[in-house]
Symmetry: C2
Subunit: 146 residues, 2 copies
């Protein structure tokens, strides 16, 4: 999909993906080494009663499911950032997450006629359909080649 | 450090950490499988003239450096989210990143007297001291135990 193919209100839904405890701990050891993510005993005593995934891990899983739809494979020029990332509910081992995405803004670039900016409201849900994360992704997207 | 130990304007600086190309590609294959992060030839033709790190990877590295300072090892209760994440400059293999953090808000929780909320302005820099990422991290932090 190129810039012209996106419009406000479009919705997309991804496949689901499960997280297991080794993956949760491996991610956390690299990027978020806090006992609540890496130490079963300490986490059991902590505020969530057990290991939960790093919020950065959850964000990565949701983003990956979005990328796997393949919609922007030829058109993405990367993104300037994300806004309003909220971790809403804990994610635990064996949770199965999917993402739902809504286009909330589409606008051509003022300075670069070959691209535009698209805002996506990204929401991640677990297997009980509880929202666990939400954020706004901003992406530069090419206009359709002539 | 507990809630009482934080005050607006405090600044912290982390050690530096290098990213190599295998780590960049490995992260991207798991969480951001776009050619610009995973395919050397495609990336060379792309907007950055080569492989760049996933922005989620950069965020994870900066957060990890922050956690490694160990300031909140006993006091963090996790966070409700992050705000205004900006990817400012590309991060490439062999770049060496460090983080600088400033406390921008400290307030007790209205509903839970055992904790408060601290906002941190997090900034990541490369070896040329160019800012590559910034975001606001929000963390629930315990008050000092009686």
């Amino acid at each position: 999909m190129y810039l012209e193919d996106f419009e406000v209100g479009q919705r997309f839904k991804t496949r689901a993906m499960s997280l297991d405890e080794p993956a949760i701990m491996d991610f956390a050891r690299q990027f978020d080494p806090q006992p609540i993510h890496t130490d079963r005993e300490a986490a059991a005593e902590g505020p969530y009663g057990g290991i939960i995934a790093s919020g950065f891990h959850t964000a990565g899983v949701i983003f990956r499911l979005w990328i796997d739809l393949g919609l922007m494979l030829k058109s993405s020029l990367g993104g300037p950032g994300i806004e309003d990332l909220k971790w809403i509910a804990p994610v635990r081992a064996k949770d199965t997450l999917h993402a739902e995405i809504e286009v909330t803004e589409v606008r051509p670039s003022k300075s670069k006629p070959d691209r535009g900016i698209v805002r996506f409201q990204m929401e991640g849900f677990n297997q009980r359909n509880e929202m666990v994360i939400s954020f706004v992704g901003i992406t530069f997207i090419k206009v359709r080649p002539a």
